[in-house]
Symmetry: C2
Subunit: 514 residues, 2 copies
């Protein structure tokens, strides 16, 4: 009898199919046991190629291939027969080769980057233990760890009584924002849990036009429809205009609709703007609306005594989205939803399934936290972050945050002074910095429609050049009437001033023939 | 200047805070680089303690402690100062010690278990590369890999034209079921994306009383309300009663409500029953309802020529939830939502955020698949499963499935013949087997109220005993009027006949004083 019936290797090169009869030995007790050498060899290559070599400044960020070409180069095909371990190791190496090195210092393309060694070790242990966090019984340690981390985060947010309330880990900030909508709806009309939104007065969600798209997306998913998400205009630095917010709220009331909540943003996706949270909290109070703060991106600044003023007023929020996988550089995913209200998550989402949340267990079942979630099985995203936090201390996280802000300020100063570069915002507040590069051939032009049309095409061309060269990855986008501009995003505290200069040099060099 | 500003170790025992000036060296280029020794030492312990020793039959499945006690034993506290690497390694070891060994052969408690060595290596590589799968640009290989795996799964489901349609990876089966509701709603009324459910005719979702709680939970989250989820009675073997389904549909129509969809189940959570999919598809056709099949648990049987008949009719579904992390033993999470409709996921969920899904990129942006999802950042859950599939081949996955079904049949036969054990279903269809154990002291009793009250208390007491002893973990639950019974769940193909006997012996032994 095979120790591992699942293995069907006909062309394997070691003893995968050996017969084991001694069931008391660990070899037979575990399908992986015969594979210790294979596992170790794979891990060794992962550490060497993906963790270190792939993130070396002298390596490419990406080896680019078009989809059709990549399909030729890589053997995606799933077949009847399994592959040999040699072939599998080759596939691992090729997976690394053809993947974008998001841990590379020159990957400044998204709101995540870097590979924190403690977070990585934390993820690897989590994978090995493969827990699902819904009952204390199957995840005792991770249950208490979630409680600890979420309480500490609420304390840092500044909720009353040293951080009262509740919180959960979510599969990303988008779904965390959905939880905010869900809690706001429940607080406004608990009967909606039973009745749904059919025949209800329309409930209106307010957020800024620069907010993350997830507010609208989740509102659509949750039965509100995009028409009931009101996008409030932002001012010249990307912050929600309070005058427009109040105007829109009044308009809703006049229409017989119900203002439900404001989703403010602390660190917008593109410009990195922080909404005026204290001001928004006044409007929410006046009209009895739930105040949510999407601090998925900017929340990390709360760790810094120097920068936490950017989020002044967040302590008045009803709920907060905060993703440690962004500014704090935990690995993906590590997203939290925090609320000052103790009971709402459980009241709002529970269904009391008797096959998972049995009440006649021998321990205190208030530690079975799974019924607060819309997920059933759920990964322990807490451990990597807790382990990082333990390793670095709160001071270490603060030093990390302050280092990336310092680099962002250095970069901004360089952009400001360097010919051809122009900032979108003169003084960005967060560590994402938006700017244009005007190639020499365009600099003398009048700033008319033709100029902006041509400038609009610069960033996509430069982006194409850098990806094909593999020298760096930075994103670009238009915003409202503004033509395409670059957006540098910093979260990796190993970046230095010389890297900032490299980014500018590289863009200049890639644009020289435009 | 510190190479890693984030590190604030004051009491570290190696060169974490050493100064590095050479930016071209990989040491300075990467915060993890100085930590290679630490990473390797940690991985070595993870492999030794968590992957092997922790899953050895001679080890405990769990070292049990009450929450208050565990808080004393383990240092959860987050402090200003970071910890030394020695302390961190100690914390890793203690995390392993105090965690439930879900990969242990005697963890048969939930719908996941085991540690597949290929899946583990796949997860570890995914973590090292830390991708987010939303644009081809940042995840080229994983984008094409998702396409390949999802197409192959649709082909196996049996959708027309060799597997037409679309699919996505989801953070768990609950949310996958939510996608089914979302797609059904959109197909019925595309305007709901804009208008929401306010003022709409109530839309009704039908599912069986034995279906997973996520159908109701997601319906509540999505604005339907629990009242608009109609739970159809099941028959004596746990299958949805088609006569009751049709009766309920007609009742809805009489009330002026709109029957929207049926969520059938292929492998119910408790009894493992497979609904009559072909029959349900007829009802759906007749009343123009979306047909969803929640095959999160039972979907794995599709890999087996011997057992796929259990899901006959699934090929007629509009959509399917299928979690390879359950019966196919991929690590968590690995959940898919599959639909025969090519466009609905994108139409239904897209918001076209210009800062992520730029249309003026230099490559074919139809490969930027993120806008189909309600998540923005999203882990590459595909790789571990693809890698397992490559390693074992389709035949290997089939052998795995058939092995666990064979063990389930062996176990069922043993329960049937052994004194004191009684099956809840005489012939379970899936690899979850529900049964009572009647201790000797109860066997002579009349089967009256007192008997059932006493029997109801047996499983919780036995469960308490096994957890405190650490000898195995099996769940129990009541069902409708039935008193608490045990539910064995098999997904681990390394389990043998002798293990099945061990489970029965152990329950008998733990119950001997009851």
């Amino acid at each position: 009898m095979l120790a591992n019936a699942a293995n069907n290797n006909n062309n394997n090169n070691n003893n995968i199919t050996s017969t084991k009869d001694d069931l008391s030995s660990f070899v037979a007790s575990h399908p992986a046991a015969e594979f210790e050498g294979f596992i170790r060899a794979c891990v060794d290559e992962i550490i060497k190629l993906a963790v270190f070599q792939g993130t070396n400044r002298s390596s490419k960020v990406v080896e680019w291939h078009e989809p059709a070409e990549l399909r030729q180069l890589f053997d995606f095909q799933l077949r009847e027969q399994g592959e040999s371990q040699d072939k599998l190791r080759e596939l691992l190496r090729e997976t690394i080769r053809f993947s974008v090195k998001t841990g590379h210092p020159y990957f400044i393309n998204q709101l995540y980057s870097g590979v924190d060694p403690y977070a990585l070790v934390g993820q690897w242990l989590t994978d090995a233990l493969n827990p699902s966090v819904y009952t204390y019984e199957v995840a005792p340690l991770f249950t208490l760890m979630e409680e600890q981390v979420l309480a500490e985060m609420r304390r840092i947010v500044g909720f009353p009584n040293g951080g009262q309330g509740d919180g959960i880990f979510c599969p990303g900030g988008s779904i965390a924002n959905g939880y905010a909508i869900s809690c706001a709806r429940y607080r406004h009309s608990p009967e909606s849990k039973k009745n749904g939104l059919f025949n209800a007065k329309p409930l209106i969600i307010f957020t800024s036009e620069d907010a993350h798209y997830s507010v609208e997306k989740l509102a659509m998913f949750m039965g509100f429809g995009s028409d009931h998400v009101r996008k409030i205009a932002t001012n010249e630095v990307g912050k929600m205009r309070l005058s427009d917010l109040e105007k829109q709220v009044k308009l809703c009331l006049e229409n017989g609709w119900q203002p439900l909540m404001v989703s403010a943003t602390a660190g917008t996706t593109v410009l990195g703007a922080f909404d005026d949270l204290a001001g928004i909290s006044e409007v929410c109070k006046k009209y009895n609306m739930w105040m949510h703060v999407d601090a998925a991106w900017g929340g990390g600044a709360l760790m810094s005594k120097k920068y936490r003023h950017l989020l002044n007023g967040i302590e008045r929020a009803d709920s907060v989205t905060w993703n440690p996988h962004k500014l704090l550089a935990a690995s993906q995913q590590c997203s939290t939803f925090l609320t000052r209200h103790q009971q709402v998550l459980a009241q709002c989402h529970s269904t009391n399934a008797t096959y998972l949340f049995q009440k006649d267990k021998f321990y205190d079942t208030s530690f079975d936290t799974g019924d607060k979630h819309i997920q059933c099985g759920r990964r322990a995203d807490v451990f990597k972050f807790w382990f990082m936090w333990k390793a670095k201390g709160t001071q270490g996280l603060e030093a990390h945050v302050e280092k990336v802000f310092r680099m962002a300020e250095f970069f901004t100063a360089k952009v400001r002074e360097r010919p051809g570069f122009e900032l979108v915002l003169e003084s960005p507040e967060c560590t994402n910095i938006s700017f244009w590069y005007v190639p020499p051939g365009l600099r003398e032009m009048e700033r008319n429609r033709e100029f902006y049309d041509r400038l609009h095409k610069v960033a996509p061309k430069v982006k194409e050049g850098m990806i094909k060269k593999g020298s760096m990855m930075i994103t670009y986008q238009p915003l409202r009437q503004l033509p395409n501009f670059f957006r540098l995003v910093l979260q990796n505290s190993c970046l230095e001033e010389s890297d900032m200069v490299y980014f500018l040099d590289e863009i200049e060099s890639l644009a020289q023939n435009l």
